[in-house]
Structures are given as structure tokens and as C-alpha cells.
């Protein structure tokens, strides 16, 4: 994909020189310099907390650098706020959500810059028309731009974020982990768009923890480590391992895991029915990793939430070690030794304004209780032991979680559940926005659990990890169970077929369930 | 000889030097309530100026008896020459006793706190205010028709007033009381209630108001409903707004309270307790005598078309 670069023979569009950004307790960026060429896709790699998002926030006016300059097309600019960034033609898809639930999709896309007449009166007709075009371009022609955003599935919402950035048709497009929560198909659409943009001379900065993607679309890659610039390479001249070495400072032992599946059935679900899924039945064996594949919005999370007793609106029998159980609240599930690591950590997993240690003990304050009373020293001890065990990067256990980088936040959510050592652990997108190193660590932790006899249900939209970890995979399509695949017939295309509904193992219940509110 | 003796006393009295730091404190509630400010407090301060002593007015800015009590308790340590207390509620009795026990001359005005050790009370009987309104209303409406009344429900003095009104009305079977309403001493509220009343009861003939804001509120609504004169209004207090409404024939009868007298003479009583111009025994304290009146009813007065011209408003 080197083509556009030659086309615009190496003229520099943007230069970041000696950027330093210091947060209390952390040097997020330490003298980072970066060059961005017209029409290139420039990947930015680094561990969680390396400073990628911070750098992009500096570039898009959300943070002011303590030192260093932004040089756009040769002349030095200062970017005091986001608005200026927009005017300078810098568009960004943030890592965190920047949408508003109560507004229509169209208004979210054109936040603050809706089409208006000369008196500032919004031209809604035009607004919706524009939005429709843009959505179509992103392969979401089926979504009515008038829909309230909150009725969209998390994945579709992420696509709206992308549409929002594109709506400003920027000269420089920053994508900070855009594919973290979208499906393969949506990702493909995105890549096509990126390609056509580069043809028009747009420069793209692409941040991702998914090496495959980077090699698929990037022309060059720059690496950050602990806020320090590690260098820039041309993709064709570098390998995955080189990048990882630069990121992590060591080689990753890429092991493939052996299974610990036992004989006895731990969990058995029969005819689960809910608003987002239909007639789901399956078994879970001791020490097994059961993968749940499906496109975003397939109903996996809903199924998990049903088992965990979050949403009461479902029926079906659940048996745990041969005896039937009724779960009406997460507490019931936890008492039975079932844990659930939710998919959107910021909304559902974390207490952002609370400290790392308070978050870690959230599921089980009793660990810190001595003769009926809480001992804060014990909270710290427990927390620190997990900070060690999972290698969570934080100044101390009293740091507010909101200040940690995504990957480390995810590890904290995981620690919450390890604390309970559950019999059954459901993990929903456990490696959302987690760097390669941390991913490997999380995989290892999960496998270690199965070794100890814990059974795991793993929901993931990242097929590679699903394939490498699972002992068995169930595929959901639009709320229906379409396949159950043993390890030997694992393959990406097979799963995609079942997930997109073109094939179905159990045609008995092929009647489609009415799409949840999400559709309209 | 006796005559000579008296004169001498009089001269001494005249020549008693005043101490400008001698402080008399009035403690009320809703300290900023215009009626209180313009009558009670104005007269009290005027008295202080005449006497050349210090006067202070204290109290919470809402109707908050508990807070008024805390004000009383908190000024006691500073040992003022005398306390003039608005008898807002029987609940302040303990605080009053505390002041009395601390040896501070303490006078209650407006409503009496019977279960307290206060040295003197000046005021009017709110029950009478109710009766006066009732009688005026009965006369105006010829003893029949629908009427309503409003004030601040739950205040001891108001409830007494309501009782007085009802006691008058109960002798007139042809008068129907459509209801008792709480205008929270708020003009807009009184107006809203009134216009709702007018819509709900097309042949309403009279409304009685018991707090300072009732009059202006009722008057406004009656004007806006074009019912001036058709609906008779009796209410309390003599603020400029009230007087104007009487002049305009919107309000027919005002029952005035001579509030200035409460505080002027109340303060004077306190002063006399301190300076003992009249001693009634060798040692009044030992003899268990207070050298001021025990209870004074300043009486009421009525304002209507006939005498309104004599009350010219400050505006």
C-alpha cells in the first residue's frame, strides 16, 4: 500500500518536535518527535500507558504540551483547544467515547457543526441527508440518522465516532484504537475508507494494539515506550517481533496453550430465551474455555448478563454441578461462584474516581475484614499483591483509576474477579484496548485459572484470541445459536459464515428473532 | 412636704444620665418581613434614638422558631439590658425562662407566651382580630353567602385568629365557608389561590386574609377577575399596599394592630425595669414585684372607606 506516499513524494504534512507532557506522578511524554507525510498511514505503537493517546490529545488541543511544538505544513501552530484543531483540519476518533446518548445519530456526527443557514438555524433536512450519506459510506445505510444514539449497539456507536471524525473531512485523521469494539466487517469498511482518504492526500495516524491490522494498512510505524520515542520504521522493512521488541524492550514468548478440559459438566444452560437471544442451550465443562463468537450485537453480552442475573427479563433453566439454580441478581451468581467481567470497563467495570485498591476489592470487601471490621492496610496488601501479580502499571495502589491507561484499567477489572476465584468466569471482550504484552499476560492468567479448575466463557470479537484460547466455540448470530465447533474445526472463515448467518448447524430454530431496539 | 418629696424624685429622674452602651435587643423571626421592619422594628429603633441607648434587632430571615430560640439563647451570655421578644410560638417559653433566670428583663410582644416567666406582655389578642374581621365581613355580605379565608396555617396566632373568625360566622347558618387556605405569606400564592377560588365559586362574596401578604394577593386576583366590590375583602395590617387597596375600594376593611405600640412601650418597660423610676417597695426583687405592667392589650383599630384619608401612606 505504498502507492500514495510516492504519489505525494514525501512532503511533510505535520511535525511534532520535542513534545513533553507531565502529569502529576507521570511523565506521559518525554521529548517525543514525529513526522507525518501527506497521504501516508502512520501507525503508532506502544504498550498501555506509553503515551499514545496523550500525544494525540496534544495534537488535537485537549492537552497543552509542557514543551515542544506542533509544526503544520512548515509553520508552527499552537492548538489551544479542540475547536482550533478542527479548523486546522485535524480530525480524531478518541479512544474514549465522545458521544451523547440522548441525541440523534446525525447530531452526534455533526456535533457543534451542523449545517445551518446564515442565522445559525439548523437545516435538519440537510443534516439528516448528509448523515445518511456518511453512514452509507461506512456501510450503515440501514441506520436511520434520526435514531437516538443509545439505541445503537456499542459496536455501531463506535462506527458513529468514526463518522463524526470523517464529517469534518480532515487533512489529518487520527484513529485511536478505532477497531477495539467493532466487528471484522466494519473494520474492513474502515480500512477501505482509510485507503481512499490517503489517495486524496489525507494523512492518517493509526493507533492499535492489533499487529495484523497495522501490517495490513500502515505505511510506516513509530513506537513509543514509557513516553519516549523509539524510532520510526517503514512497514515493509520491519517484522512484528521487531515492533514488539521496541515496544516492550524484550521478546514475547508466543506460546500456544494446552487445554485443561475435565469430564464433569459444571454449568448447563437450557433453552435460554431473552429479548436479544433465542433458545440457547449449552454445557460448560470443568476447566474448559468456551468461546462465544458472533458479530457485534449478536446478543452475546445479553446472554452473559442473563446468566449472571443482571437483566431479569429472560427464561430458561440453569444447572450448576447438576443442581438447578435460579439467579436473580449478580450477588446470587457470585455466591454460586460465577463471575462476569463486563464488556465496557468504564461504564460497567470501574469506579473511575476511586483508587486502584478500592476498585480491586470491590467484589469482595470481606477479604479486608478482620473481626467484623475493615482494615485498610489489608485492602492495600491485597491490592498490591494483585498489582504485582498482573503487573499493573500505577504509581501506587492509591492512584485514581481514571488516571490509568486503558490496558491497566482492564487488568484492574480482571483482578476484581480473580479475587473471588470463581468456579465459572464469564469474560466479555477481556482484551479490549490491551497491548500485546498485557494481552499475553491476560491469556496466561486465564489459562492458569482453567488449570486450577475454573471454567471460562469467553466472549470476544477478536477471532485470533478466540481461536488460540478456546477449547470449544459457540457461534451466535442475531440471537440464535448457529454453530458449536470443537477445536479441530476452528477456522476464521467457518466462524464468520456462522456468525453472519449464511450457515446454521441447528436449522431447527432458524426463525429470526425480532431485532432488539438496536435495529430501528 | 409629700409634694416636695415627689418633685425631688421627678428632678432626679430627669437627671438620670443615660449610658449609650446600654443595649436593648429585639429578637423576632423572619427579621426582614416588611411589616415587622416598618412597624415593630422602626418604632423600637426610634425609641432607642429618643432614649439615647443602643437598640439591636436580631433573628433568622425565615419563619424559623427553633432558630429564633437559638438567637435568644446566644445573646443571653452577652447580658443585654433587656430583651424584647416576638411571641411567635409557645415553644420559645424555655428560652424566655432562660433569659429571665439570667436576670435579664424580658418582655414579650404580639402574642403572649403564657407558660413562660416573661416579665410583661404587650400585644393584641389574635382571636379578636379574627372576630373583628368576621363581624365586618358579616355586615358587608348581609350575613349570607360563600366566603373563604387564608393565612399561614399552623402558626399559633393565626390559628387563634381563624378561630375568632369561625366563632363569629357560626351564628350565621346562611354563610358557607368554602375553605381555609395557606398562602405562605406569599403574594403570588395568595393571588393564585384567590383566582382559583373565584373560578371555582362564581358566587363567592367574601375573603378574609390573616397575614401581611394576604391582602395584596387577594386584592390583585380580585382586580384581575374584575370582581372589585363584588367580593368583599377584610384583612390585617396597614402597609402602603393595603392602604392603597382600601383607597381603590378593593379591600373593604383592614384590622390594624398598633404594632408600633408593642415595641415602643415594650422597650420602655424594659428601660423602666432597669432604671426603676417607680419602686413599689423597699426592695421589689425581694418582694417579688416587677415594677412594670404584667400584660397590656394595645387594642385594635379598623380602616375602611370612612377613615382611610386619615392614613396617608408614606409613598
Amino acid at each position: 500500500m505504498g502507492l500514495p506516499m510516492e504519489k505525494y513524494e514525501n512532503d511533510i504534512k505535520l511535525k511534532l518536535t520535542n513534545i513533553t507532557k507531565i502529569f502529576p506522578g507521570v511523565v506521559a511524554l518525554d521529548d517525543v518527535s514525529l513526522e507525518l507525510k501527506t497521504g501516508e498511514v502512520h501507525a503508532l505503537c506502544g504498550e498501555n500507558g506509553a503515551g499514545k493517546s496523550t500525544l494525540m490529545n496534544v495534537l488535537s488541543g485537549n492537552h497543552q504540551p509542557d514543551e515542544g511544538a506542533v509544526i503544520l505544513r512548515g509553520d508552527k501552530v499552537d492548538v489551544p483547544n479542540q475547536l482550533v484543531a478542527q479548523k486546522l483540519g485535524i480530525g480524531i476518533v478518541y479512544q474514549e467515547r465522545s458521544l451523547v446518548n440522548d441525541l440523534s445519530v446525525a447530531e452526534n456526527i455533526y456535533a457543534g457543526n451542523q449545517p445551518t443557514n446564515r442565522w445559525g438555524i439548523i437545516n435538519f433536512k440537510k443534516l439528516f441527508a448528509q448523515a445518511k450519506v456518511l453512514l452509507a459510506k461506512l456501510g450503515m445505510a440501514d441506520i436511520d440518522p434520526k435514531t437516538k444514539l443509545e439505541y445503537l449497539s456499542p459496536g455501531k456507536q463506535q462506527m458513529v465516532e468514526i463518522a463524526k471524525a470523517l464529517s469534518q473531512n480532515p487533512e489529518i485523521l487520527i484513529l485511536d484504537e478505532p477497531t477495539a469494539s467493532i466487528s471484522e466487517t466494519d473494520a474492513k469498511v474502515l480500512f477501505q475508507i482509510i485507503h481512499s482518504l490517503t489517495q486524496e492526500g489525507v494523512a492518517v495516524i493509526y493507533i492499535s494494539h492489533r499487529m495484523s491490522e497495522i501490517f495490513q494498512i500502515a505505511d510506516r510505524v513509530s513506537i513509543l515506550k514509557d513516553g519516549k520515542y523509539q524510532g520510526t520504521r517503514i512497514m515493509s522493512e520491519i517484522s512484528v517481533d521487531d515492533i514488539i521488541r521496541l515496544m516492550v524492550g524484550r521478546d514475547l514468548v508466543k506460546q500456544d496453550y494446552q487445554s485443561h478440559v475435565g469430564e464433569e459438566v459444571i454449568l448447563k444452560a437450557e433453552n435460554f430465551n431473552g429479548p436479544d437471544f433465542l433458545n440457547i442451550s449449552f454445557e460448560l465443562k470443568k476447566g474448559e474455555v468456551l468461546g462465544l463468537a458472533g458479530l457485534v450485537g449478536a446478543g452475546r453480552t445479553e446472554l452473559a448478563r442473563a446468566i449472571f442475573g443482571v437483566d431479569k427479563k429472560y427464561e430458561g433453566e440453569l444447572t450448576l454441578n447438576q443442581n438447578p439454580v435460579k439467579i436473580n441478581h449478580p450477588m446470587d451468581a457470585m455466591k454460586l461462584g460465577i463471575g462476569y467481567l463486563p464488556e465496557h470497563r468504564k461504564e460497567q467495570g470501574l469506579f473511575l474516581e476511586m483508587t486502584v485498591e478500592e476498585n480491586i476489592v470491590a467484589t469482595n470487601l470481606d477479604v479486608a475484614v478482620e473481626n467484623k471490621l475493615l482494615q485498610f492496610s489489608k485492602i492495600s496488601d491485597v491490592a498490591n499483591s494483585y498489582i504485582q501479580k498482573l503487573g499493573i502499571k500505577t504509581p501506587d495502589s492509591k492512584q485514581k483509576v481514571v488516571n490509568l491507561s486503558g490496558g491497566n484499567q482492564q487488568k484492574i477489572v480482571l483482578a476484581k474477579w480473580l479475587l473471588l476465584n470463581p468456579k465459572v468466569l464469564i469474560v466479555d471482550e477481556p482484551t479490549h484496548g490491551v497491548d500485546v504484552g498485557a494481552k499475553a499476560e491476560i491469556y496466561a492468567i486465564l489459562k492458569e485459572l482453567t488449570e486450577k479448575g475454573t471454567s471460562i466463557i469467553m466472549i470476544s470479537s477478536e477471532l485470533p484470541e478466540l481461536l488460540s484460547l478456546s477449547d470449544r466455540i459457540l457461534v451466535l448470530c442475531n440471537g440464535n445459536l448457529t454453530a458449536e465447533l470443537p477445536k479441530e474445526d476452528f477456522s476464521e472463515e467457518k466462524i464468520m459464515h456462522f456468525a453472519s448467518g449464511t450457515k446454521n448447524m441447528f436449522n431447527k430454530n432458524s426463525e429470526k428473532i425480532g431485532q432488539p431496539v438496536s435495529a430501528n | 412636704k409629700g409634694a416636695y418629696y415627689k418633685e425631688k424624685k421627678a428632678e432626679e429622674e430627669a437627671s438620670v444620665p443615660v449610658n449609650p452602651d446600654e443595649e436593648y435587643i429585639m429578637i423576632t423571626t423572619i427579621v426582614n418581613f416588611p411589616m415587622y421592619v416598618n412597624h415593630d422594628q422602626a418604632a423600637f429603633i426610634k425609641w432607642g434614638k429618643r432614649r439615647g441607648v443602643r437598640t439591636t434587632v436580631l433573628g433568622p430571615s425565615e419563619w424559623d422558631v427553633a432558630s429564633q430560640i437559638s438567637f435568644i439563647e446566644q445573646v443571653i451570655p452577652s447580658k443585654p439590658a433587656g430583651l424584647l421578644i416576638n411571641g411567635t410560638d409557645p415553644a420559645i417559653a424555655n428560652a424566655i425562662n432562660m433569659a429571665v433566670d439570667a436576670g435579664i428583663p424580658t418582655v414579650v410582644y404580639d402574642s403572649d407566651i403564657v407558660n413562660s416567666k416573661r416579665h410583661a406582655f404587650l400585644g393584641t389578642d389574635w382571636y379578636e382580630i379574627g372576630r373583628w374581621q368576621g363581624e365586618a365581613m358579616v355586615e358587608m355580605i348581609g350575613g349570607k353567602g360563600q366566603i373563604a379565608y387564608m393565612g399561614i396555617i399552623g402558626l399559633a396566632n393565626m390559628e387563634a385568629g381563624f378561630q375568632g373568625l369561625l366563632d363569629v360566622l357560626k351564628d350565621y347558618p346562611e354563610i358557607e365557608v368554602v375553605g381555609k387556605y395557606d398562602d405562605k405569606a406569599n403574594v403570588e400564592e395568595a393571588a393564585r389561590i384567590t383566582s382559583d377560588l373565584i373560578s371555582a365559586n362564581p358566587d363567592l362574596v367574601g375573603i378574609c386574609g390573616f397575614d401581611a401578604m394576604s391582602g395584596p394577593g387577594i386584592g390583585l386576583a380580585v382586580k384581575e377577575a374584575g370582581k372589585v366590590g363584588k367580593i368583599k375583602i377584610t384583612t390585617v395590617d396597614t402597609e402602603p399596599e393595603h392602604l392603597k387597596l382600601v383607597r381603590d375600594g378593593v379591600i373593604q376593611t383592614l384590622v390594624g394592630q398598633k404594632r408600633e405600640l408593642f415595641t415602643w412601650y415594650g422597650a420602655q418597660f424594659l428601660y423602666d425595669m432597669v432604671h426603676k423610676p417607680n419602686t413599689l417597695s423597699g426592695d421589689d426583687e425581694k418582694a417579688g414585684i416587677t415594677n412594670i405592667p404584667f400584660s397590656v392589650n394595645t387594642g385594635l383599630f379598623k380602616i375602611d372607606k370612612t377613615n382611610i384619608d386619615l392614613f396617608e401612606s408614606p409613598n
Binding site: - | 396555617i153 371555582a200 392603597k244
Partner: protein
């Protein structure tokens, strides 16, 4: 069907239904006294002042904030204008402009201290409520009246059977309903209330916008106060007391949430209308004394429960639910 269910998501619709039902039932019970033009026009007149303030409060609450000082501003602006006219003989229009001017200043101070300095809006506007009430007592302690006729007509004239305050209310509601629905400027408040961080990240000047919203409500409250003085033909230092809570209640009934991001201007008016009708109906029903408060409370709860039940019929209720519980 699906559509109608979707409509039930909109408080403006559900509240309109509730109000309609209330009106129909009352008209059946009191055919001669309730459904009369006089009654309605008087009900409207008595809620007009509060509604004007409620419009500002709705915008503020859409942005996720609120203002407790409005009642005091009503009293102060009215008193200040009266003071200028009565004691200094200032020309009516000048006095009015001055009255609105000081209100704007108050709003700016509130907004600045909340948005820029970061004082909690409850504390800030509560403190301001006391300060301004004090100033109101200072300027119009004794109560001021006998204004120039040219001032009184503003609030006392009748046009097509409605007294002027009603017209002012309708104009202001219509104007802001339009602006909030149709202009980028006011739409921004939905972003701010819906997700302040996201708004910032989308390049919205959150702090500036917040300051504007406080200025707006203060100037509306100021205007309402001047209108009230004119209607009363007198300025009273006690007017507007307790208005803040009544207005906030009406606005929440009208669809706002303490979390922000929700609500329509029309909802604010429907909220005040609902409250106004309730008290009207209670007096028709001969509810009096303390029963008024008791029954008003019960009706309030009932109204919200009805709203929730209507919403519940729609699939996504549970989610909404959760939201509400948090509000």
C-alpha cells in the same frame, strides 16, 4: 403501534396526555366552573411568571446544572426597577433595562463562579439566593408602589382576553422552543448535559456556554420580576420566595433530569401548566387546609408513576429505568 410506543418515550407527549385527561375529567365533574375561558385565562395568568423562569431553568438543566437564586432575582429586579422609577424618577424603559442589566450581572457572577472557578452550583446559587434576597429587601424593603402608568400597563393590559403576562410567556416559550430545537448554539447544551467530557472533546466551549446559560436564566428571572411588579403595581421584597423549588419541580415534571442532557422547552411550560391545573382543580374539589399539601404531593408522585408506567411498555424500559433511578 411501535411508533406510538416510541412517542411515549417523550415526556412532552406523556405529560400532554396526563394534562388532557385531567382537563377532560375536571370538565365532566365541574362542567360550569372548570372549562370556562375565564378560568383558563386566570390559571395561565397565575403561572405565567413562573413559566418564564422555567424556560431558563429548562435550558440550564439540559446543560446539567440549575439555579436556586431565581426567586431572589425576581424580587430584586422588580424592586430595583421600581426603586429607580420611584425614587430617582428614571424613565420607565431605562429603569427596565437597568433592572435586566443587574440580573445579567448576577447571572454572570453565578456562571463565572460555577463554570470557571468550579464552585458547586447548589452552594453558589444558594449563597446568591441569600445575597440577592438581602439586596431586594434593601431596595424595596417597605414595598414600592404608585408607578408611572406607562409601567403598569406592561403587566396589566388585556389583549384578546388574556392579560399581557400570558402573552409574554407564550412569546418567550415559543421563541426559545424554536431556538433550542433549531439553533446550533442552544443544541450545544444537550452535548454538555449529555456528556460534558465528550462535549469538550468535540470542541464545544463548555465553560463559556455554561456562563451564558446562567446569564440567560437570570435575565429571564429579572424580566419576570419586572413583569410581576408591573402586574402588581407594586414591588415586594418577598415575591418569588420558594419559586426555585416550584420551578425545578415543574421542569423535571416537564422532562428534565438532574443529570442533564434531557428536556424540551415545551416541557417546561407543560410542567407549570400541570402544577397550575392541579391547584385549580384542588380548589374546585374543595380541598383546603393541610389537605392541599398532602394531596398535591400524592398527585405529583402519581404523575411520575404514570409516566414511568407508560414508558415501561417500551422494550428498553429497563435501561431507561436504571437512568431514572440515578437521576
Amino acid at each position: 403501534m411501535k411508533l406510538s410506543l416510541k412517542l411515549l418515550q417523550d415526556r412532552v407527549i406523556t405529560l400532554s396526555i396526563t394534562i388532557a385527561v385531567l382537563i377532560i375529567i375536571s370538565s365532566i365533574i365541574w362542567p360550569n366552573t372548570f372549562p370556562t375561558f375565564d378560568n383558563f385565562s386566570l390559571v395561565l395568568l397565575n403561572l405565567s411568571i413562573e413559566t418564564i423562569v422555567a424556560v431558563g431553568m429548562m435550558i440550564l438543566m439540559i446543560s446539567g446544572s440549575f439555579d436556586l437564586s431565581v426567586g431572589s432575582v425576581v424580587a430584586f429586579a422588580g424592586g430595583f426597577t421600581a426603586y429607580l422609577m420611584y425614587y430617582w424618577g428614571v424613565y420607565v424603559p431605562v429603569a427596565i433595562i437597568a433592572g435586566i442589566g443587574v440580573s445579567i450581572l448576577i447571572g454572570f457572577i453565578n456562571g463565572f463562579l460555577v463554570a470557571r472557578v468550579g464552585i458547586n452550583p447548589l452552594i453558589q446559587t444558594l449563597a446568591m439566593m441569600g445575597i440577592i434576597r438581602g439586596l431586594a429587601l434593601m431596595v424595596s424593603g417597605a414595598g414600592i408602589q404608585n408607578f408611572p402608568e406607562s409601567f403598569n400597563v406592561i403587566g396589566q393590559t388585556k389583549i384578546l382576553g388574556f392579560q399581557t403576562p400570558v402573552w409574554f410567556m407564550l412569546i418567550i416559550v415559543a421563541l426559545f422552543a424554536f431556538l433550542v430545537a433549531k439553533t446550533t448554539f442552544f443544541r450545544k447544551y444537550y452535548y454538555i448535559g449529555g456528556n460534558e467530557k465528550a462535549a469538550k472533546l468535540s470542541g464545544i466551549r463548555v465553560e463559556k456556554m455554561k456562563i451564558y446559560s446562567f446569564i440567560l436564566i437570570s435575565s429571564l428571572a429579572g424580566f419576570a420580576g419586572i413583569l410581576l411588579s408591573s402586574r402588581l403595581g407594586a414591588a415586594m421584597s418577598t415575591s418569588g420566595q420558594g419559586m426555585e423549588l416550584r420551578v425545578i419541580t415543574a421542569v423535571i415534571l416537564g422532562g428534565a433530569s438532574l443529570l442533564g442532557g434531557q428536556g424540551k422547552i415545551l416541557g417546561a411550560m407543560l410542567g407549570t401548566i400541570f402544577m397550575g391545573l392541579i391547584s385549580n382543580v384542588m380548589i374546585l374539589a374543595r380541598v383546603s387546609g393541610y389537605w392541599q399539601q398532602i394531596i398535591l404531593g400524592l398527585i405529583l408522585i402519581l404523575a411520575v408513576v404514570i409516566d414511568i408506567i407508560l414508558k415501561k411498555n417500551v422494550g428498553i424500559a429497563p435501561k431507561k429505568y436504571l437512568k431514572k433511578a440515578v437521576n
